[in-house]
């Protein structure tokens, strides 16, 4: 903890002192606000299901932009050498970057809470799917941040880190579409890897521990891979 806090503070400062975090949050909120308002006026249903799916779609694009610089920038600037030759553990460095990046994404998601508040003030929404939808978004964000972090740890090029992270995230989102064409054994594996298949129940108000377990374990696996990528020197 003694070493973790300064590392976390450094990462938070790097993210919140630069305009990147604010621009990403602003773009996300403008697009989501537009979508929320438009859908609400057209449908007149007090629901956030479409917002959860659209948010997920935007997270695929925006999270890699947040995570691309985490290790790639330090590797290119040489500061990674300074950091990893200090008496800190690789796991502390990885966790600090993960927590700081997730904090930006959680801030972004938390600000959309205003939509739920609007629905509550002017309508009678079913709160169950709203709560579970937010839990799903947080879990999805956690996995995507960890994945972006692991990819950033493999390269010194930020653009490559972002593009590969977006590619892999989309592949994992839609991989269940391939399942129908595969033999039975492989079909199950592909469906079980699908981010969409595990996110949909949360967005529609169904909470399963298997989905929770999937996001937690995929986050841990990606963080582990990030640590291994750092250790392989």
């Amino acid at each position: 903890m003694k070493h973790f806090l300064p590392l976390l503070t450094k990462e938070l400062r790097a993210l919140f002192y630069s305009p990147i975090a604010y621009i990403i949050i602003a773009v996300f909120l403008v697009l989501m606000g537009y979508s929320f308002t438009l859908t609400l006026f057209l449908n007149k249903f007090a629901t956030l299901i479409h917002i959860f799916f659209q948010s997920a779609g935007l997270l695929f694009l925006l999270i890699p932009i947040i995570t691309m610089r985490l290790f790639a920038e330090e590797r290119k600037a040489g500061t990674l050498e300074l950091l990893l030759t200090a008496p800190v553990r690789e796991s502390q460095v990885v966790l600090a970057k993960y927590v700081a990046s997730l904090a930006v994404v959680l801030t972004m998601i938390a600000l959309t809470g205003v939509y739920a508040a609007v629905l509550g003030m002017f309508g009678a929404p079913d709160w169950g799917p709203i709560y579970s939808g937010y839990v799903g978004l947080v879990l999805l964000a956690s996995t995507l941040v960890a994945l972006g972090l692991a990819i950033s740890a493999l390269t010194s090029n930020q653009v490559i880190a972002a593009i590969v992270a977006i590619g892999i995230s989309f592949l994992l989102w839609t991989i269940d579409s391939l399942a129908a064409m595969m033999p039975e054994g492989l079909e199950r594996v592909l469906i079980s890897l699908s981010l969409l298949a595990h996110f949909t129940p949360f967005a529609t108000g169904a909470l399963y521990t298997s989905d929770l377990g999937f996001f937690v374990s995929s986050t841990l696996l990606a963080l582990f891979l990030a640590m291994r990528a750092l250790a392989r020197r």
């Binding site: 500061t79 300074l82 020197r233």
Partner: protein, 306 residues
């Protein structure tokens, strides 16, 4: 005295390329050890292994008694490192950078304040403490990097090409700093510039193509001072027979075609000149040869390349 660093049979492969080949050496307390070699000779790789940034393919390094691979945290807490291109967090102010590095090194609030004040004083960083690192000159960047390495009073300071890109005045300052710091800690410094190493190091490890050719103690060969002289119209046989009768002065190396002779003189440079004048030799040029490192380096590297 227990060595601060003991490196044994260090080997490092980058893929199929052998970068460091079975290198062993040690560094004693308060000693400045120079690693000298041309670019690509494995100096930086060795430093990266010593500091725990790279894992050796085989071999071991112990810093203050701790293995850098199996007890990395403890080993790293005893060393401060300034990598070659002086990487720093450009978006931080000098004081923020030092606070961050101090906290990462495990200093508590009270200790941190005192440690930062000490390194700022020592490295004369007071005038730039509030400046963004991106606004610093190369000289101040180098000082800030050394300052962070000294936080927590490590037993070992590792400097990779510390005079690269500095102007002559800054080079002299870094040289003086290394000398001063070696009163309190051990230092490993690399350079591909022989004169730089010669001026600061107590011992020099000469590297070529990943191999350690020799560890040379500066100023310890022979009993006297080495003097390089160029004589006008001198006959080598006459000079040799004359010097044979003079105790305390011998020819170490000779290039008779140029009239250049390397002498070892117990009476120093003055003694050598007196003897030569006494023998009627016309001296065209006299130079102190220093440590003999240049000759040794050329001889060794030539031997390997052939």
């Amino acid at each position: 005295m227990t060595p601060v660093i003991v490196a044994e049979s260090l080997t490092k492969y980058y893929g199929a390329r052998l970068a460091v080949d079975g290198v062993s050496f040690d560094v004693r307390p308060n000693e400045v050890m120079g690693l000298l070699g041309p670019n690509g000779s494995g100096k930086s790789t060795i430093l990266r292994i010593l500091t725990g940034y790279l894992r050796p393919t085989s071999g071991t390094v112990r810093v203050a008694g701790y293995d850098v691979v199996t007890h990395g945290l403890q080993a790293r807490s005893h060393l401060g490192y300034v990598p070659e291109d002086v990487p720093l967090y450009s978006a931080m102010r000098v004081i923020e950078f030092l606070e961050f590095m101090g906290r990462v090194r495990g200093l508590d609030r009270t200790g941190l304040r005192a440690a930062i004040d000490e390194v700022i004083e020592r490295l004369s960083l007071g005038s730039v403490r509030g400046l963004l690192i991106s606004k610093l000159s190369r000289g101040f960047r180098q000082r800030a990097a050394i300052a962070q390495a000294l936080l927590g009073r490590p037993k070992l300071l590792v400097l990779d090409e510390p005079t690269n890109g500095l102007d002559p005045r800054q080079i002299i300052e870094v040289r003086e700093l290394i000398r001063t710091l070696s009163r309190d800690l051990s230092i490993i410094v690399t350079s591909h510039i022989l004169a730089e190493i010669e001026r600061v190091a107590h011992r020099v490890a000469i590297l070529l193509e990943g191999k350690l050719l020799v560890v040379h103690t500066l100023g310890a060969q022979g009993a006297g001072t080495r003097v390089r002289v160029r004589l006008h119209g001198a006959d080598e046989t006459t000079l040799r027979s004359f010097l044979a009768s003079k105790p305390g002065i011998t020819i170490v190396e000779a290039v008779p075609s140029l009239g250049v002779y390397m002498l070892e003189s117990a009476g120093g440079t003055v003694g050598a000149i007196r003897t030569l004048v006494e023998g009627g030799f016309a001296i065209e040029e006299v130079g102190a040869s220093g440590s003999g490192l240049e000759e040794m380096f050329l001889r060794l590297t030539e031997g390997v390349r052939q």
